[in-house]
Every structure is written in structure tokens, then in C-alpha cells.
Symmetry: C2
Subunit: 720 residues, 2 copies
Amino acid sequence: MTDFRHGGFTLPGEAGYEKLTLEMAEKWGADVIRDSDGTKLSPEITESGYQIYSTICIIREHNAFALAHPETQQQVFLSSDPVTAVSDSVSIDPLAGYFTEQFELNTDEDALPFWQVWDRTAGCLVPGDRWRLEGSTVVISGCIPFHRYTVSFLCRRIWEEINMYNHTTNHWQTEHLRQLDPRHPLAWDYLQSWLRTWCEQNPRTNVVRLTSLFYNFVWIFGDHPRRPSRFVDWASYDFTVSPAALKSFEAETGIALTAEDFVNKGWLQATHRPPTARKRAYMDFIQRFVAEKAKALVEIIHSFGKQAYVFYDDSWVGMEPCGPYFESIGFDGLIKCVFSGFECRLCAAAKVPVHELRFHPYLFPVGLGGLPTFSEGGHPERDAVAYWLHVRRALVRQSVDRIGLGGYLHLTVGQPAFNDAIGDMAVSFRRLKALHAEGAPAELPLTVAVLHTWGSLRSWTLSGHFHETDSNILIHLNEALSGLPVRVRFISFEEAKNGALADVDVVINAGRAGDAWSGGEAWKDPDLVAALTRYVYEGGCLIGAGEPSAVEGGDTRFALAHLFGVDQDRGEYACHLPWAFETEKAPFRVDRQALGKTDGIRVTGPDTRVLCADGAIPLLTLHAFGKGRAAYLGGFVYSPSAARMLLDLLLELAGQDGSGAAICDDPLAEAAWFPASGTMVVMNNAPEAREIRVRYPGGILQALLAPEEMKFICPLPEAR
Amino acid sequence: MTDFRHGGFTLPGEAGYEKLTLEMAEKWGADVIRDSDGTKLSPEITESGYQIYSTICIIREHNAFALAHPETQQQVFLSSDPVTAVSDSVSIDPLAGYFTEQFELNTDEDALPFWQVWDRTAGCLVPGDRWRLEGSTVVISGCIPFHRYTVSFLCRRIWEEINMYNHTTNHWQTEHLRQLDPRHPLAWDYLQSWLRTWCEQNPRTNVVRLTSLFYNFVWIFGDHPRRPSRFVDWASYDFTVSPAALKSFEAETGIALTAEDFVNKGWLQATHRPPTARKRAYMDFIQRFVAEKAKALVEIIHSFGKQAYVFYDDSWVGMEPCGPYFESIGFDGLIKCVFSGFECRLCAAAKVPVHELRFHPYLFPVGLGGLPTFSEGGHPERDAVAYWLHVRRALVRQSVDRIGLGGYLHLTVGQPAFNDAIGDMAVSFRRLKALHAEGAPAELPLTVAVLHTWGSLRSWTLSGHFHETDSNILIHLNEALSGLPVRVRFISFEEAKNGALADVDVVINAGRAGDAWSGGEAWKDPDLVAALTRYVYEGGCLIGAGEPSAVEGGDTRFALAHLFGVDQDRGEYACHLPWAFETEKAPFRVDRQALGKTDGIRVTGPDTRVLCADGAIPLLTLHAFGKGRAAYLGGFVYSPSAARMLLDLLLELAGQDGSGAAICDDPLAEAAWFPASGTMVVMNNAPEAREIRVRYPGGILQALLAPEEMKFICPLPEAR
């Protein structure tokens, strides 16, 4: 019997709390001790025999260099707020409304040519001879009265965003840290040299934990207390920009990007929106740049006999773990902080030797949402268990190699419930890991393809954590899928047109009209529509949620309305009378709470079966087309019971009975069957005890589960 | 003192009930007796000394002629439902899904060239050599597999729609009546001759009551019991079409319309949607045709010494009372059936000598909604009073000349409550008419312009009765305005650009994105946006409701977001953090029930005052811009109290105190001050007694009102 008390656990150590560090390392079975943002490790810790991770944010903490070479700092395109001209001239302060501790106008000789002035009312560029910069004000002449004007401008970012966040949220008082752009040759030489020196000076470090690479997710602060943060996108590329980047991109591709390619009328280009072809080409260019530079850093780290792990958060832009270049960097490990199951699957899917999860809550007085965790009013053990319930069902489906924590270890003092909970989770994690090592859990012969603009580049995640993207239906579906016994892949519209549907049982398209997840303009492509139509006609299945395949300009609002048997009325159906319908009993348990209502949904004919409705609006429908079938969901809100409904719906569509895997009778419990080790893992997702029956290839298993319990039952016969 | 017991009342007589007819004529003070659809008048009635109206539906009841000359029947363009090709050919039955008792394919030599076949997936026309008609089936070859195809075709309408409605709804069993197209020379000659004969044969008729003219509103029946009616639009022009009309239009304008100009991908072009320029030109062409032909009929009627009144319902297309050609027809009277106040105002606004309202309920066993009125379970007196409460407040603002009823008079037997209620209404109507004759009621110095695509062509109404259009915010606003002491006009976007805003105090734009009321693509015109911007900047006020000025492609979703201080997020604002706001106390009484919630509304800056919100969604806001102000309402649902809130909002925006007119302290009561006759009219809109105070130029009036009472108080001093 393996010892499940030790290994695969990364503990945040803390100088000044050496005894506590070693005690907790023992309690949680740690094999690694790390530092965190804000903590240091003392020699007493680094020399205690544990493996040592050291955190580096490579582009930060070089203020002296940044101030000496301001041109090496990172930049961004911003747009001024629009100003209405009331005569034939108007003055605009570009940075009005922005946080001037974060931004500084870049009026350098190579930057000014990228500035633009727009008449946003007419939607046209103002010629360069009609505006001039006076000090930090742009004066525009020859205006059309009562048109609105904006200035698009480059500026330097003079406060690294995570440092800024810690100052503004956690009242840090230290020097504002700046960030360097590795694209600048001076900065790049400096950073490589700095890393070499660091490696030399930190002989005890086994693993350099890069947090993360170069370009932070986009976080634009404002100057008003009622909107301190203007824009946050965890996956967009605005912070990678500079005149040098644009020129290099043009030299390589022939595409001359302008401010408007980034500013996009002031909307910017959020990851939730479909990118232009130009922007996609630019993203690929940045990804290659990031991979190339990261590879060079990894090689330096390796040359000192250390390993290079990357923490996938903060400055992650361009290093998407399922992107095309991630593997080429040569990282030894990927660390992902997790609140949710989909994040485990994202980490597990990356092609890298070691996959590590950093659990939540972070050992910090307050959580990301600003609520107390390790401070008065907080319940860190409840938080930890809540996240664990999400995470463990994904870990059951696909293993990772390590788990860990981060933050200030001393905050665990006086938190025995939390400390015990983490210890229990660590044991469960190790048991799961061992099970996976013996052989994969039973899986249904059912492949789900999530279809959206980004395809595998945005596997599992949309562009941030669950709570940051939870107004999007798809993240709820991804979260449900992360713990289901089905195969999941993420495909793009281009792939769908070119054969990727061949071995797919169920395609999911879920989003709102015009977004990257639904697809927007992609649905104007008749080849895409025909590919999906053929796929369903020949027996494929389809799930649409929200406003799937919605696009203007067709003869239906949903390009796939003929498959779904529902369409959406946003006014186009004015005077067209609706089909009356009766709601019929579903062939599976419908969780009405999990379904959402999308405005204007109407059935398109008498053959659409409505399984759930709110008045005249269908919430869940089924429709046959050719040999295939399509389901429509007005919305989907993740819960354990919602995940079960999704599984039932997948089985219903695919005409399968689920007999290849383990399925509980209770929608609030889940099970996984590991045939190689004859072990059943059962999980109670409910806060009360449940007596469950599990149907699996070996027969029927009955079990009594304590509230939220995860139980390992073995040995069991493999099959009847 | 005038006698308010007699005059201005049109009674529906009924052969076989002569005694009842004369009794009820006396009770209600009728001066006119009319027949109705389904009733006749006997000589005993027509010779009783009353004026006689006789109803004629000019294009109907000529079946022998229609069958002898089928080419003279009316037509329509329809689109087949789409059919998916699963190989390189596909067959389509064009009329599948349509009611074949209403439609018959027109495969005549002059009709077939107008047929079209579309690949709706690719959005392109299929060349004529790739399809052929085999019997009544269209066979298409050279298809792209898994594209969807439709056939657009001409067909004859072989059952007049109102007759069809009475058969299918009221179980009539008589011969299906057909309808003639006056554009056909044979039909036109026949109809004129028939009218002359009719006039000769009906010497007792004083007024020929035309019901209505030529082209019915569009009503397309289907073949499935779950959708018996496919499409109903009370104002669109699809039923005017024929090869002859299209050729004549092309000869006149050079515009060659095709099936697609009408079919519009299968959506058709509902009045609620903005028309294309081609369609507007065609509408104008039809309006001129209808006016010309109607004028000829009126001249025939006049030549027999009779008057010609027109009932504005059913076959009304092209004779809009506020359209440019209505007055030229030379009608002696306009009769409008009314459920609502806005319909009174529409009737009163027409340039015609006599304005008459036909009250509801119609004397019929069931009402339009299919519920009982004069049959078991019905409460006709309740219905009558409910409609009267809507109607009287408009009559207080602007008078009409006559009122009346329609239907089967014998149904009033055993309905003393109804009969008394109608008698009371008739007296109130006559008192109001007399007051108006002495001098207009006091009005505020406040001009409201309702701004939409159609302008004055669609004054007051959208395209039907209230209950048919009540999903549109604007009809609720129009209904509220119909009883307020303000001047109201209806202007188009073209007019707004060209000076029509000059003397307007408050502009209202209310609708949903893309509809004719909000405006859709019209808002892409920078001149329109600049005109409104200048108007508000210089002191004009603006009310937007729902999705006002919404259009894709700009830097805001509402083209006037900078004026409203709110915009709508339909996904474009992804990652843009919202402005926090606090709801402040409004300077007037907010009727939260009257406000609606529009998805995605967010304030655009810190200066937007939120007066009512539902969570994070503002429902009512105020925003200053230059010297003017703009209000945004998420929705508006008519009620007496909602109308009062609208009045208060208008006053607040315009900076007026309302002292020029009579204003009640009680939001459920209304008042009008007739200075010329020193009379105050007060109305209790509540079902319980109210004690009210009315502020008016003469001081303060107190009054006790019975439930729903309308009281005339005089003499009062004109001013303090």
C-alpha cells in the first residue's frame, strides 16, 4: 500500500516562521517549499532538505534600469474618451479618465506617427494636418460641429499591473514597480544577464518558478472612484504593443497595423469578441516571439542545473498552454492556480512534464473578490472545500502531478480546520494520482467538440477564472464537462469546415450573438453552415446554448436554426405569429434551475420538442434533422445537478445508455470507475449524507456517503 | 342649455328587430342608423326618418365576376419554407405550409418571370436555367448539398381575408368571397359600374360607408393547427402587388422591383421594420393609386347626392389618414374603431369634414381576442367602460364629431348595464364636443415630437390596435400622450435633419434595436446624430426608451449614448467595467411598474443620474448635455399612473411647472381646463372614489369623484 501522506505538495514557506514552515511541511506531506509574492525563504528553510521553488517575475523589479532606459518600458494603445466638438475646433486631453500613475503619453519620435485622431460620429480618420499636440493636449481643427472626436495614442505603462493591484487593493506602500519589454534589445540583454546572475546567486533553488513571462493580461485603470478599473481582459494582447513590435510585424507579414487595430473604436478587442484576421496574425506573431524569448530564458535556467516551471497567471499573454508554441519553450513544469474543474483540465492538457495546481484560497487576508479569507469574518476552510468540490471531479477525470498553496504561511496559525482540510485534500489527490497511474478511468465512447472562434488556443478556459467570465454560458458548460466521463476537444470554425467533425459525437456552440464563443460573423460562411448541416444530417448531434450561431443578415437569426428547430426573434419576426407548443416530459431529469432564458426564442416548426419552457419561451428543446439531433438550451448555470443534466442530454442525443462508465442514480453524486485497479471513486456533491447506487460495467454498487465525501471503494469486479 | 341626449350617434340597425332598433335609437339618441357586416336594414328602418349609412366593401361580393375573370383577383408574393438539399437537386412545393383555401399559385405567363429561387445558405439567387416548374412543384438542379433553398412566387388570393376570418373564427358557412384588384382595367370598369348601380338601387342611403377601400392589411394563413395564422401586419403593402403594378411602377420610377423586395428572405417587410428606399417608393406609388381610384369612387357617390365615409380598418392599405394623399380623395367622413386614446387622436387628426369613432365592444358574441362579449361569460358593459377610460382622456384633448356602434343590435337585449353605459358615454361625448366647440382646452407650452422612420405617415398608431402592437414601447407612449395637455407631432429622421426640431421641446425615440420606431440603420447617418446632438446641446430635451438610436457599427451601441448618458451592452462592452451608481430620489413620482428593463443598459459616466434601477440595470435616468437634457427609460407600460409619470418627466425635462394647464395631485386622476367655457373636466381613472385637488390657472379646485367618474365642473373663474 502506497503512503498517501507525502509527496507532490508545494508549501509556501516564510522567513521568520521557520518552525511553522517545517511543521506544516510535515503535516501536509510537502516535498517542495516555495516563496511567494511578498515572502522570502530563509537559509534555515532552503537548507532543510526540501526541494526549493523560487518565484521570479522576470520583467518586474528592475526600476533602476527602467528609469535609466525609459524607452525599454512596456506600452499600450489607448483611446481618449470621445469629446463633442461644439465649434470647428476641439481640444482633447488624451489621458483624461485614465489613471496617470499607470500611464504616461509616449510622444517619442517613433511613437507619434502611430497616433490617430478619429471623427467617431462620421467613423473616419482625421488627416494629420488637422490636429497637433500642444503640450499634452491634442488640438483638432476643421471639425464638423457636434461630431465626437477621439485621440488614439501610444503610452508607456509605468506601473506593473499586479504590483499596482497589490498597492491599490492591499495597501502596499513600497516603490511602484515598472516592467520591461523584452522586445527592446537593451532590455533583453539586461534581462538575460540579470537571470544568469540570479541563478548564480541562488544555488539552493531547484526550480525557478516564473510568474509568468513578459506581458500582463490587460488591466486598464481609470481615475474615478466609481470606476477604478476600466478594462480587464485576462487574455488579450494590447500590452504587447510597441512601435518596434508593429514594425517587426509589418516586416514579417506585410501587414501595417494601426492604432485602430487595437483601439477598435474604443471597445478594444476583448477575447470574448471575434478577432479580425489582422489581429489573429499579430497574436501569432507575439506567440512566436514569447516562445522564442521564453525558450532562451529556460535554456539559461537549465544551464545552471535548475528546472524552469511557469506559473500560468498574470503575465501569461502569448504563452497559452494549449497554444501552438507552448511545448517548444521547454518548460519543465506548468503551475496553474485553480478555483474550478476546467482549470485542472487546462493544466493537465498542456504538453509539459509536470502539471501542478495551486489551490485556493491563497494564504492572504482577503480573497480576489475582496472578501475576507484569513481575516476576521473569513472561513478559509469553507472556501477551500468549496473549490475542492469543483476541482476533484476534474482530477478524477484527468490527473495532474502536484498540488500546492501560496501566500503567507503564518496565516494558517489558528486555522486547524483549514489545515486539516488541506491535509485531507492532499491525501485524496495522491490516491487519485496513484489510481490514474495504474490505468485511466472508464470513459464513454462519446466525443464532445466545443466549437468556437479560438478553437484549441482557448481550450477549457475563456479568458480568466470562472468568476471573471461567469456571465458566459460556455464557461458553465466547460466546467460541467470537466468532470464528465466523456472526451472533450476544442475546435475552431476553420477546423469544423475541414474535417474536424468526422469523429465527433456532439458539437457544442454556446455564447451570445456576436461573441467569440457563439462565433458572430463566422456564421456568414455558407461552407461552415453546410458543414454543420451535413454533420447533423448524417447523424451528428449538436447542442446550442444562448445565442448559438447567431448572426445578422441571414434568413434566420441563428444560422443553424434549421438544425435546432428554434430561432431567436430580435425584431425580425415582427408580425410572424409563433408556433404554439406544449411542453413534453423529458426523457431525463430536467434541472430547471440550471437552464436560462434567452430573449425572443421561438420554435420554428411543429417538430421541435419542448422539454422545458418559461411561458412562451422554450428553455430546452430537442429537434431531429436527418439522422442527427440538436438540442437547444436557453442558458446553462453550472451546478453538480446541471452537470448531470448535461451528461444525460449528451447520452440522449447520442443514443447511448452510459453503460461504459459509472453513473450514479443521484444527480448530486458522481462516480468514476478505474477498471485497472478495480476501484470506484464516488463523490457526494451535496452538503448532506446520501445513499447512492452506481451503475457500472461490473454491476450495481451501493454506497453511503457523508456530506461532500469522496470515497474510494475497492476491490470491485471489473465487469459482470 | 344644450340637450346632450341626442345627436352625433350612429346606431347599428337590424332587419327583423325593427322595434328594438327604434327603441335603442331613442335611448342612445341616435341620428343615424347603419347596417353592419352580416346585418341588413329593412324598409321599416330606412324609412323611419333617420339618416342611413350603408356599408359597402367595394372589392368583395363579386364572386361571379371573379370566377369569370380570375386574372382580376388580388395577388401576393410568398416564399416557400426553406428546404435543405441533401444532394445536387431538390424539389419544393411552394405552397407547403400555407392555407391553400387562401392561396393559388399564379403560373400565368406574366407572373412566372417574377418567380425566384434562392440559395438561402449562400444568400444568392439561383439562375433560371437551374430550376423548372413540374406541375405545382419546383425542381432545382445543380444544388450545393446542405444548402437551403426557397422559391419566391406570385399567387392569387382566392378568399378575402375578413370573410375568411369570419368563417374560420365565427363559423360562417356561406360562400367564400373573393376580392378584385381595381388595378385591372376589367375589374375597375366593373366596380365603377357596380357602384353606380348600387347607388341607384339604394335611394334611402344618405352615407355610403366604405369598408374600407381596396387592399386588405396583410394576413397570411398557414395549414397547421398550431399556427393557423402565419403573418399579420395591419399596415404593410404585400397585398397590393401584381405584375401589372410592378410594371407600372417600373415605367414610372425606373425601379424594377423583384420578388425579393417583398419576400425579404422570408421575413417580409413588416411595418415595424425600416423599409428599403425601393419599398418606400413603391408605397408612395400605391398611395397615389389608391387615392386616385378612391377619388373616382367618391365622385360617383357624390353624383348620386350621397356622402362617402370611409371606415379605416381592414382594406386600409394606402389610405393612411395622415398620409399625403388622404385629403385629396374627398371623403366626407372618416370612421375609426377605437379601443384606445391614440386611435381617437389618429381619427381627429385626419383632414376630413366628419370624424366618427366606432366604439367597442362590437355587438358580436365574441371579441377580437376570441373571448366572450355578448355571450355566456361576457361582460360587455365592463369592456365598454374599460375602453371608454382610454378613449375619453383623448376626447378631452381633441374632439371628434360622432360616435357609434356596430354589429348585431339584438345582442343588446337583456344587457341593461351595457345599454345604460353606452347612453352615459354618449352624453359625456356630446358635452365634450360642445365644450370643444366653445374653445379648446388649456394646453402646456410644450411640443413633443415622436421621432421614427415613418414620421407623420404613422401618426399615433404603429400598425394596428393597441393589443396587436403592445410589445412595442412606443404604442404605450403614444397612448399616454393621447391624453396629455401637450402638443404632439410625429416626425421622420429626414425631417429631424432638416429643421423639424426647431420648435420642439422634447423629442421621443422609443423602440428596439433595428425596428422602424427606434430607427435602425438611419442612425448610421452622422448628420442625423449631429442634428440631435446640436438640438440637445442648444437646450432641447430628449426621451429615449428601450433601445433608442441603437445601431451596429458605431463606437457606442446607442448612437445618442453621449446624450442619454447610458448605453447598451450586447457583448461589445465585454471586459469594460461598469460605472457604479447610486439611485437618487427623483424630483417626481416614479411609477416603477410602468418602467421596463432593457438588457445590458449601463451608465456611461459619473454624471448620469439614476432615478430608478433594478439591481445593476438602470430603468430611468437623467443626463444633462449642453443646455439640454435627456432621459432614458428601460421600458414603458401604459397605465393612467404611467401617463402621469410621463407628464411629470416632460415637465422636468423642459423645466416647466405645468401651471398653464390643469394638473391633479392624484396620479390616478386627470383634468382638463376649458377656459372659454370656464369648465373643468375631471376624470377618475381609479376603480375607487378619490378626493382630488386640481391646480389650474384659476387656482385650486377640489373635487370628490366616484369610481371611474368623469365630471364637468362649471362655471369656474378663468384665472387668478
